[in-house]
Amino acid sequence: MHTISDDDLVLYHYRDGLDAARIAQIRDALSASADLRERYASLEGLLARADAEPVPEPGADFSARLWQKLEPRLEMRRVEKRAPWRDALDTLHAWLTPPRLAFAGACAIALAVGIGFHAGRQSASNAPLVASAAADAAGARVLDAYVAAHLRATEGVLMTASNSDSADLLGGNRELAAQLVEANRLYALAAARAGNTQLADFLRQIEPVLISLANPSPSASVQPSEGLREYLKATDLMFQVRAAEARLDRNGTHRT
């Protein structure tokens, strides 16, 4: 009769993942059963031997080599952060999370870009060109920054969906994907209205993936990740999302 499994003994060994009552129960059973003691000793021996593998050590100059590669990236980051509009955007974006508020933000931006576009057409003959160009640049910066944040959220959803096997997490991820679908549509619309057809097309390309993550087929159970991994691999979508994100971040910096 084995009411204490090897898995229980693993947790007992680490004194982790078991409540106090279960730990006491296993301890008592170990005192009472030679057979169980033998199994536990075998496990402890196994785990001790797992330490036989040499500890991986980096080369002697690792830290210096690492810093050589990191320093220019940090410098670039500092230059980006100095852009005066970034702080304001960060604050605004912090305000607009969670995603429902981000959706509201997307609506507002789509509307603003739409109104700006419309107003620009109405008053094109009278408006001073310089002011119009400045307004366009500011609008594009705002759009870029928001879409970059949207793509970061999309990347997170894709990563969770393709790597997690937790039903709870996947459930939350589905809700997030559903919210991103709506925001994605509005950002695509705003990008198209702003004349950025490349970005608009890319966002439209992501939409079906977000929709399928938001509405998994009943047969997909809790682990739709295999098919998604294959799809991500085949289309390189994750890379494209990151590349678009980086491009938008760069655009923001150059426009300041």
Binding site: D6, G17, D51, E53, P58, R65, L66, N163, D165, M238
Partner: protein, 191 residues
């Protein structure tokens, strides 16, 4: 204590943009981060890339570090994800064995790797067996095991680092231990 004070100061200065302060943090943590990344990726070059990405991400998000956990814990969590990300980029996650609770594969692996009677159980041979089995695990199994066994992380911390439920983290550790056992114990002792 003194070191902890220094670290808190470096974190504060680095999050205000001080590169020299961040360099101190890099020097203090790079080797430990390399070790955990190398154990996860089983590849020193990938581990180096992972450490670089982890530190860059940490720099970008330093302001979000709230001090509720130790800085090294926060950094390790970022590094674990960077290591997994590096493996994903190289498509190594899919190359690992599929996760399974099926005893059939477990026993097949045990026959495959069971030590022959003529082989001396030297520590070098055991080390090789361990290395072989670790490289055959799925990335999640290996990462969960490395974090629990070598890094001393709790299951709660592992779950947070891997975005898994605690139950899924435990199962990943159990599978890892079974695979190790299949390599290191003769088949007749496996129950």
């Amino acid at each position: 204590m003194h070191m902890a004070n220094d670290e808190a100061r470096w974190v504060a200065q680095a999050s205000a943009g001080d590169a020299a302060a961040f360099r101190h943090l890099v020097d203090a943590h790079a080797n430990a981060l390399f070790r955990v990344c190398a154990r996860i990726t089983r590849d020193n070059a990938l581990a180096e890339d992972a450490v670089q990405e982890a530190l860059f991400n940490a720099y970008r998000h330093l302001r979000e570090f709230d001090g509720r956990s130790a800085f090294s814990t926060w950094l390790h969590r970022i590094a674990v994800n960077a290591a997994l990300e590096q493996m994903r980029k190289r498509h190594r996650v899919e190359d690992a064995l599929p996760e399974t609770d099926d005893g059939e594969e477990f026993h097949a692996a045990a026959f495959d790797a069971a030590p022959g009677p003529d082989r001396e159980a030297t520590s070098a041979a055991i080390g090789r067996d361990i290395a072989h089995q670790l490289s055959r695990m799925s990335a999640i199994e290996r990462t969960a095991f490395v974090l629990r066994h070598h890094e001393g992380c709790s299951i709660e911390e592992i779950s947070a680092a891997l975005s898994l439920s605690e139950s899924a983290s435990k199962q990943a550790i159990f599978r890892a231990v079974r695979k190790l056992r299949s390599a290191l114990e003769p088949i007749d002792t496996v129950d």
